[in-house]
């Protein structure tokens, strides 16, 4: 994995990474990728097609909703930037 690719991953993951750190990360990632790549040896084709442990969605019944605003004060108290009962963020779309 080259530094350009790592930088792209960092952008995708929304993590600011210094160029010094890219150096260490490159070495670490290579070690980890080498380790996890051993799964390529396994032929698990049978389990790719026939999933014996199929998953299913479990939905909660849509009832017992709470009153609007019941938790707003407590939740908003944790937000770093807020204004007039809203969470505040920087402008996304410029005029």
């Amino acid at each position: 994995m080259d530094k350009k690719e790592l930088q792209k991953l960092a952008t995708l993951a929304r993590i600011a990474v210094s160029s010094d750190e890219l150096q260490t990360l490159q070495k670490d990632m290579e070690g980890v990728l080498q380790y996890i790549s051993q799964i390529q040896e396994v032929s698990a084709g049978h389990h790719e097609t026939k999933n014996g442990f199929s998953l299913q969605n479990v939905m909660r019944e849509d009832k017992d909703s709470h009153e609007s605003g019941a938790y707003t004060k407590e939740l908003l108290a944790e937000a770093p930037q807020k204004k007039d009962g809203y969470i505040q963020v920087k402008k996304i779309i410029s005029a």
Binding site: R14, I15, L25, V32, Q38, V42, A44, E78
Partner: protein, 480 residues
């Protein structure tokens, strides 16, 4: 009043409290005194709550009025890993990014312990976001092993395990995604249980890898682990992956089990230290003498459990940890635009191991690599689970050492991620398959002048915690 904390278990304490030998307040004061003496060296607790005596007083009143009808956990002093929410209290997952965050609700496991009358002493240290096997990666500094303070207590629930080992609480709750309850329990000489996936609600546990995460108790005895498990387990409408255990509280069908030893244990993939293997073989001999049957079981794909884990876990973690962005809670580092607000907050707030795993997660999920890594890993995961279930057709329980080594020296594996990951090679199988597993102390080995604990791990089919409790209790007795 002087109470010998080293002699206490949850069930013994219960009898003392009912007999009136001491009160919950006296017991709590003894713990606070012991914590004050030991915690500056061990750093197991990151915070002691300021209302513990008030909680104790309430428990005393409950015992005075309800007597035997009170919950078996009424008045039990407990510690909680720093990633399980207690309403109104700080929770930081050992991370800078959750600095000053206060939980806005109770985790279900916490609500159940509150209902039972447990006394919450404080929150216990952990690797940041439970990513680590040594508790060295905490924003609060490393926790030390109470058996040798130059060594790691294991991780990521190193704080909760060290708390119980240093008599800083009777029990603690940890979380186990790849071994994070059992490996530290083994390093600290205490009992650690990872329940069946879904047995304990994950509601209010800060998520790392949602399909593996389970809350589990750390205690001094198997009986105590069972008491805590019974109190915190059950179906919860707030966690759709939770389920009622049908076998809970029931006796296993037999008391003489067929025990499986996986042959991969002796392969080169499993770097067991010699005296760890010796200790394990001794344990097996003792179990045989008690009339259990021992068989070797072939599980050819189990050796891939750890690489599978290091694909699926970062993938899920990178998704789960997207919520820490400086907008809704925790740390906020201002950048020049919204994108930089996110990137700077996460760059400053997350430590190196978390950053590494999030990048790895982004990588295995990214277009072009998804099929080769993530999809393949899920297929191999299914194959491993199938391997284990086939083995369980012939044996009641699968046994291994909990970890290939005793507690290692602090700093020893910090610069080599793969070496650190390998300490979970024997525990991770239970998470990959969703099986329950318990680590029980199995004796000690010498390293230099230190006598270090080892653990033996029993893994059972889904929902058969009762088998683990039965064989675990028997093992404690024959080990004496």
């Amino acid at each position: 009043m002087s109470i010998d904390l080293s002699q206490l278990t949850i069930s013994k304490t219960r009898n003392h409290l009912l007999r009136g030998d001491f009160t919950v307040q006296e017991l709590t004061e003894s713990y606070l005194k012991n914590i004050a003496k030991k915690n500056s060296d061990i750093n197991a607790y990151v915070e002691i709550f300021d209302d513990v005596l008030a909680q104790a007083e309430k428990a005393d009143k409950e015992i005075a009025t309800q007597k035997e009808k009170s919950s078996p956990l009424c008045g039990t002093p407990v510690a909680i890993k720093d990633n399980i929410l207690i309403k109104g209290r700080h929770v930081s997952c050992g991370s800078k990014i959750l600095k000053n965050y206060k939980a806005t609700y109770d985790a279900t496991a916490i609500a159940k312990l509150k209902e039972a009358g447990a006394v919450f002493l404080g929150r216990a240290n952990m690797d940041e976001f439970a990513m680590g096997s040594s508790t060295e990666r905490s924003a609060f500094g490393p926790t030390k092993n109470p058996h040798d303070t130059l060594r790691s207590p294991g991780g990521s629930s190193g704080g909760p395990a060290a708390v119980v080992a240093m008599d800083g609480a009777l029990a603690s709750l940890g979380s186990d995604t790849g071994g994070s309850v059992r490996q530290p329990a083994s390093f600290c000489g205490v009992v650690g249980l990872k329940p069946t996936y879904g047995a304990v609600s994950r509601y209010g546990l800060v998520a790392m890898a949602s399909s593996f995460d389970q809350i589990g108790p750390i205690t001094k005895t198997v009986e105590d682990a069972e008491i805590v498990f019974n109190a915190i387990s059950g179906k919860d409408p707030y966690d759709s992956t939770s389920a009622e255990s049908i076998t809970q509280n029931s006796k296993p069908k037999t008391s003489k089990f067929t025990i499986g030893i996986p042959s991969f244990l002796f392969g080169k993939e499993t770097p067991l230290e010699d005296d760890v293997l010796q200790n394990f073989n001794n344990s097996i001999e003792m179990l045989k003498k008690e009339g259990h049957t021992v068989k070797e079981v072939e599980m050819p794909l189990v050796k891939y459990a750890l690489p599978v884990y290091y694909i699926i876990m970062p993938a899920e973690a990178s998704t789960n940890l997207a919520r820490f962005d400086g907008v809704r809670y925790g740390l906020y580092a201002e950048g020049k635009n919204l994108f930089d607000d996110y990137a700077d907050t996460r760059g400053v707030g997350f430590g190196p191991e978390v950053r590494r795993r999030l990048l790895l997660g982004a990588y295995v999920l990214s277009s072009g690599y998804y099929d080769a890594y993530y999809r393949k890993a899920v297929a191999v995961q299914n194959a491993i689970r199938f391997d284990c279930e086939s083995a369980f057709k012939n044996v009641d329980v699968i046994v291994t050492p909990t970890s290939p080594t005793p507690a290692f020296v602090l700093g020893e594996k910090l610069e080599d991620p793969v070496a650190m990951y390998l300490s979970d090679i024997l525990t991770v199988v239970a998470n990959i398959g969703g099986f329950p597993a318990i680590s029980v102390p199995s004796g000690t080995v010498m390293r230099g002048k230190s006598s270090l604990p080892l653990g033996i791990q029993f893994m059972a089919p889904h929902n058969e915690e009762n088998v683990l409790f039965s064989i675990g209790k028997e093992f404690e007795i024959i080990k004496e």
